[in-house]
Amino acid sequence: MTTTPSTPSVGRPLTRLEGEAKVTGLAPYAYEYALTDPLYLGPVLSTVARGRVSAVDTARAEELPGVRAVLTPANAERLADTEDREFAVLQSDEVSFRGQFVAAVVADTPETAREAAGLVDVAYETLAHDVTLTADHPRLYRPEEVNTGVEADTEQGDPDAALARAAVVVDRTYRTPMEHNNPMEPHTTVALWDEGGGRLTLYDSTQGAHPVRHTVAGVFGLDPERVRVVAPYVGGGFGSKGSAHAHNVLAAMAARAVPGRPVKFALTRQQMFSLVGYRTPTIQRLRLGADRDGRLDAVVHDVVEQTSKIKEFAEQSGVCTRMMYAAPHRRTTHRLAPLDAPIPFWMRAPGEAPGMYALESAMDELAHECGVDPVELRLRNEPPVDPSTGEPWSDRALVRCLREGAERFGWHGRDPAPGARREGDWLVGTGVASAMYPHMVNPGSVAEIRYGEDRRYHVGIGAADIGTGALTALTQIAADALGRPLSEVVVSIGDTDLPEASVAGGSSGTTSWGAALVAAARVFRAEHGEAPAPGASARGTAPEDTATPGYSQYSFGAHFVEARVHADTGEIRVPRMLGLFSVGRVVNPRTARSQFLGGMVMGLSMALYEQSVVDPAFGHVVNHDLAQYHVAVHADVSGLEADWLEGEDPHAGPLGSRGVGEIGIVGTAAAVANACHHATGVRVRNLPLTPDLFLR
């Protein structure tokens, strides 16, 4: 930071600036803008997983009063760029997964749109489909790279020889299911072309207004300046709203048929199970070779996942194993099975969440095998430098998180024997797991500062607040960067009319956008001094690389969990969870704590409830709603505590902060599973941990 006022804003636990708007429900989400004469889109989804649309009969739909247009593969406009096949909406008769758009209706009311969509008769030529991931799938392949752009496979030393000679070997396979993000606000877009058809406005529910603009502009062959995306309030995303999806394209196509009139399109909850991404199921084989004291000599993490045949997404589940613990011999691999399935995508901590479940479960099994306390086992395998690069750590605080967390949780004196404690009808156990998340920064965000007639600094950046508290945190950062009190700073976000901002993803938002604010404030103060004239303005761009090169930068954490398993029914309750994290500097303790807690709740939910079940015969997610796809409810969450180590990362850029949005979900499921094993002696190696798995 250049200068800060006498009372810095960063570090203060402010309540959210948009709090009143949210608790009254007056904050407008994508669907909720008061637009004149809106029309409504009703999509038709394929009911086969593979094949082609052989005929579409739109007669009955078109006869319905109030229907304005029916789009089919035969009459839909040809898009400019369909290289990314996710966006090749209605461009051919090919069906690549069940639940793909095959037609759409535009109508005067939502009721008519929905009814008319149901009256579109689609005939298919069906081909045999393959929607089932197996460890030995015949079409497994190695992707060029995995998500975040790193290599699919790595190898150091001779892991096979090391495993062959190891005194203790843990060789286990862990499975995680397909999971869906399910933000509470369904993916929604409202598309409006101006009368001339040259400019498109999307009121969208997205984690990145500018990324959506670039995608949609490319697909329609427009200059990006002619696409405006508005998204100041976003009802959650957890990754799925980190990119445009096919519905953005469909809405824009449909609206083109009715220029000057907005077309509203909110996906139903059910439709979200095939159209906006999901976490791939994983099959992960972990092999740990260690001496009798639990010191690792070899680690092998082999990951098998799925992708769709039309667009590759390779979740980086094995990447965590490259740097987590010391071991001279190491291998990580990723293999993908291309299926006739919807396109997987980001879901909170893609890679780390499933990967650390497997690794941290295996570490618990190793501790058990060696008779070493699971906290101590991790301490024994602490690497002095990043094993994957040899670089020094900028701020690796795993040991402190484990030690201080253990102290606060009351870990010491734990009887390691599984299945040994019972209180009434409940078997009681405790578990631990490490957490980690890489420090990610997206370059290139721009901020603008204008000093207004109202004697306030108006700061604009097209950033997204998906519930992270970004608006409040950015206001704090801007205030300090300008050396002014909060009351003099107004930040606007979520609109492509504001300067370019990177996506809210990879826990990078506050750090990446904050760097732009700091840069803009520096320029503003240099150009206009401390007493600017109204109208004074300046822009600043976040530097290409804010982090100090040569350092390995990660956030770390430790989860401690108490689990209770009912001796008769197998029901699981988690009355106590503690997460202790190290994330560098915390901009807003109140909202950061909420992010940690939220991540831990989603981790608990991943551990115990979440699972999208695919029917191999039909190729769809059977339990495609919130009654059947269980997420944690109020009654599931008690005794939850999150805290962090004070400090800042000297190498993490101008703010000294790393992200807080994702680390809470990393390792949580392993800690829960380890606690359930400690409670019962039953080791379940596939998620979720449902009551039937603990019946005796």
Binding site: P110, G467, T591, V601, D625
Partner: protein
Amino acid sequence: MDATITLRVDGEERRLTVDTRTTLLDALRDRLEATSPKKGCDHGQCGACTVLLDGRRILSCLALAVAHDGADVTTAAGLGSGDGAPGGELHPVARAFVDHDGFQCGYCTPGQVCSAVGMLREAEAGWPSHATADLDAPVSLDDEEIRERMSGNLCRCGAYTNIVAAIREAAR
């Protein structure tokens, strides 16, 4: 098939024409631009659409508007300050949500707030819940009771801990 109905929404009498198929939620959101109640699932599985209908919390996505002609609907935008008059200060429950950071993305929040207000009335009336150990004894609204009674309101951001803290404070 259309029908003309009257709803009292947040203290204001509104006359509107709806399709018989229009749910109360869609009537509010699409016909009256009262978008405080949210659509999260449209099937009674998430609680985001919770409003107070004639004083009781219900899911507006499963109520047909035509079947509630003449009803009084209160959304989170119309809770007022809790003394019965709309407008002015935030309702104590809503205020507590802000103070305790009982939300993140905010999409489930109006439903959580309405649900909490309705739930507190139910507890005050002595209604038991699944968490009530002795059905024949008076109800004491501890955290476990709050959690059980609020379980019809999903929060994917996982703000549950803070929501319970907010309601606990507002209940005092």
